[in-house]
Assembly symmetry: D2
Homo-oligomer: 312 residues x 4
Amino acid sequence: MATPPLKGIISYPVTPFAADTGKLDLVALRRVTDALVEAGSHAVAPLGSTGESAYLGEAEWEAVCETTLHTVAGRVPTLVGVAHWSTETTVRRARLAERCGATAIMMLPLAYWKLTPAELERHFAEVAAATDLPMMLYNNPGTSGVDLSPETVVALAEKIPNLTMVKESSGEVWRFRAIRELSGGSLSVYNGSNPVALEAFRSGAAGWCTAAPGLLPRWCLELYDAVRCGEHERADDLLAVLLPFLRFIVAQGLPRAIKAGLELQGRPVGPPRSPLLPLTEEETERLRELLALLDAHPLLESAAVGAEGATG
Amino acid sequence: MATPPLKGIISYPVTPFAADTGKLDLVALRRVTDALVEAGSHAVAPLGSTGESAYLGEAEWEAVCETTLHTVAGRVPTLVGVAHWSTETTVRRARLAERCGATAIMMLPLAYWKLTPAELERHFAEVAAATDLPMMLYNNPGTSGVDLSPETVVALAEKIPNLTMVKESSGEVWRFRAIRELSGGSLSVYNGSNPVALEAFRSGAAGWCTAAPGLLPRWCLELYDAVRCGEHERADDLLAVLLPFLRFIVAQGLPRAIKAGLELQGRPVGPPRSPLLPLTEEETERLRELLALLDAHPLLESAAVGAEGATG
Amino acid sequence: MATPPLKGIISYPVTPFAADTGKLDLVALRRVTDALVEAGSHAVAPLGSTGESAYLGEAEWEAVCETTLHTVAGRVPTLVGVAHWSTETTVRRARLAERCGATAIMMLPLAYWKLTPAELERHFAEVAAATDLPMMLYNNPGTSGVDLSPETVVALAEKIPNLTMVKESSGEVWRFRAIRELSGGSLSVYNGSNPVALEAFRSGAAGWCTAAPGLLPRWCLELYDAVRCGEHERADDLLAVLLPFLRFIVAQGLPRAIKAGLELQGRPVGPPRSPLLPLTEEETERLRELLALLDAHPLLESAAVGAEGATG
Amino acid sequence: MATPPLKGIISYPVTPFAADTGKLDLVALRRVTDALVEAGSHAVAPLGSTGESAYLGEAEWEAVCETTLHTVAGRVPTLVGVAHWSTETTVRRARLAERCGATAIMMLPLAYWKLTPAELERHFAEVAAATDLPMMLYNNPGTSGVDLSPETVVALAEKIPNLTMVKESSGEVWRFRAIRELSGGSLSVYNGSNPVALEAFRSGAAGWCTAAPGLLPRWCLELYDAVRCGEHERADDLLAVLLPFLRFIVAQGLPRAIKAGLELQGRPVGPPRSPLLPLTEEETERLRELLALLDAHPLLESAAVGAEGATG
């Protein structure tokens, strides 16, 4: 099995919009993206759910893709979310991602009409065939409405050579082992469910696809380091402290929560795009408490220089 | 209560694509649309689920909107599906529909991220405020992932003056009565679930939103006439014969089934757009049988001139 | 097709428990049962969900079965709910029902472990084979966790000769037509979803299985008479007035709501059995309003003698 | 926090029935129970889902309870599943378990009618108050139809002093941490989802509630020892080999799969009770392969004396 092109902390940037006009704020996007790289993310993944790609026009989508990849500039690998209901648009996005230098593409089986197995297979196969990039299949039943079992995922991968990675957001950690076992280890697995971050690594996930580094990169990286180095007690302690925060951002919706947190950290990126609303005052207050607790926590104190950020 | 702007058989055209290039086929779209008007549809509703709006680029969406409304040319009212994940895009579509002369707009609460009640309300309110057109709220839990109860629908309508119509596709016919009762009759209700066509009318639905007239306009119109004139036995008989066909097109997905049927009727409009696939041979054969049965059925024989179409 | 053994208003009695000891109150059960027969019910159906059969010990179950059937004493047909997780217990109940003179048995596919199709078929077949009574298959996905499609129901009936009736509580009224069509009319269909009472009759349901006559027998009977005589406007008017009540008793749970209503009508039968709790004060107040509205309603005034009950 | 009364491998025995008469086979039950204790189980838990308690009459339930506890005879702690739809029956079972010397009782929130929060709380509180035993709340949405969130579980425990343990079978491993954190560590958590056995321990589960030791006690115990001793690589290796077996028994239903396996191991206990059917021939063949693979596997070879069982 070849080394997978992605591993570790795969950070999902938000997409900033100007607070007054609502337009894409590419300057802020560069800042956000650069911060993720500088903080030590092992990869950057624009245009996922966190990036509000669902609310972007096609030209905006392209601008975010280009700007992010040019800002990363090869310092770390990149993973571009290309999913769209239409195969044609997904193909176009995949090709643009490749031209911009993406390391890999990620594809959620979005389906307006419920797809037959034959339709699903052709959809993935056509997009995969359109580029030379490795493709990550993204299973997220809560968002896509379709649950791809480990057996289905492995069967698709056997027919589609560049489908070499699977991101699981079902939260069922046994799937990480099952996919690796059923594929004879040829598929690399990634975790997209924040609350099971640690268990996923322990079950063989090569990486954690997460928006959390937008606010707390050091916590995420330390967690990964601890588990990678076999410091299991420290890993458990870190996750125990981090878990309420992770559950909170998932419950509020990632773009809403991360954008509110960036505002609290003095790094405003504008509001989420309508129909999404900013966090309410009460929710913001809860987030402030969660961040304050983490900022002051002794588990990361030793590395006090460059604390996670001064929460407003 | 004012007379609702729409009633009766509200026909949903498919969107034709060229068999070779996959491009929008506006000539065929005009033909399809005109056929629905000529056959006696009481209204035409482009860009619904049947119209594969999920698979159209924004420029294509606009072309379909303009072409359909110009082809109808005011002969019957029109209802344009404008739903998009983003409020901004939905607003833009609503305004275009208004400029093109639409009678009303229809809006499904599509949500990539699950919306809070406040987000849902603002989403509808902003789109409604963007035009002077009456708006039809479209409840279809199977497609949108969110089920709006009669109480929620009525509460929304109380805050949004031009939300005056509700299309129910949950299939739970008691909702037609409940919505009318809870709104004091100020909301008109429409049925979007084909298999309950007759019961919906009997429960007070003002109209039937359906793709079926694409293949069988006379059956749909006769059903409506029968129920409207109190010919209950005839209505029951018509639905009994029609039901297997209605269940079939719902089970296969409306664009796939209607496009296959048009091909069988010698009126080809090209394939559905990827990821959708045409009906399989076996499915097509089943559709041929269903259409043949209906073509030859004595219930419509009396009006033999201008039979439903010679199925290939 | 033979005449089905059951039709019209099939009334489900509650099971009274003594307010002080919680023990089965067979005296009150006789009173409740007799009232349903005297009011004109076309059949009586003990030991359904309304009868809290889930909370009865086996000896209590037998006592309710015997007492109800002896009280009815053949004045109208009877339908006994015999479902249990275990085939053996279901068989024993079916045989007891037969010995007590039941007209028919009703069977919900209760399943602790999810059953395979083969297990489901054997379960029904063994119970059916244990008696000479006709059996009603009861499809209620909300309670049983398994949804039996019209195709599945008809396939079962083809293998099990005395499976001749189907009660549908899914609320999807198109199934009434579909089951009759697929079975060539050999299966009689019954409605178990109160809010679609009228549409179900109009779609071919032979009867309405309902707890509502426990409080409002005349409304239910008048609705049936209206639809049977083709007085469609009157039927619509009756249901419009009745619908808020029907939705209320379904939402609160039938035994809780009917028992509270009997208390309001001065005919106390004790509380529901734990874990069920009586209606809260607020819920009871709402029920009082709903009953008062129906008691005073002019639609039934003409038959003023013997009003529905003086609501305390 | 006190030491929880249960930890490690908590083994769930099947309930044997005579192959010819279908009657309870108490001799075989003693044999099965004794084998679980002798093999080193840290606790024995009769009358769970695996024990087919749903298919037992009340006298049978009592016989299984008494026989199992008398066979265990205090050699290891015991946990008795007491759930029933009715509060009264659950109370009676809890008291019998206490009289027979159970260490603790387990309670799934079974609900025929959907319970309100007040009903659910009273149900648990009444059963808890009926004995002095510690109670384990069992969350299994797939079986009970109700999902109790960590917040709900902790709120219940705050009101019910002897509710001190929670068994989670949702498979969402983050809940183990969340429940411990929200309860300040006062609640002990147990895992009931076989495929996440290892991750659950790593997330802080005190024990694994499982039917697997019925066939493979050594594999389960070795897994627990490995994770307890921090031999993480060995634990991962063990689970990797065990996972296909664990997924298989879950997919087939535990009583069906374990009983078939005991037959293959030359230790027959009769068939599952109707409506359950024995494994099909094809399923049995697959189980034979899975067991053969595990029997011969070098990971457990070192301890070759007393191999897992000679699979027929």
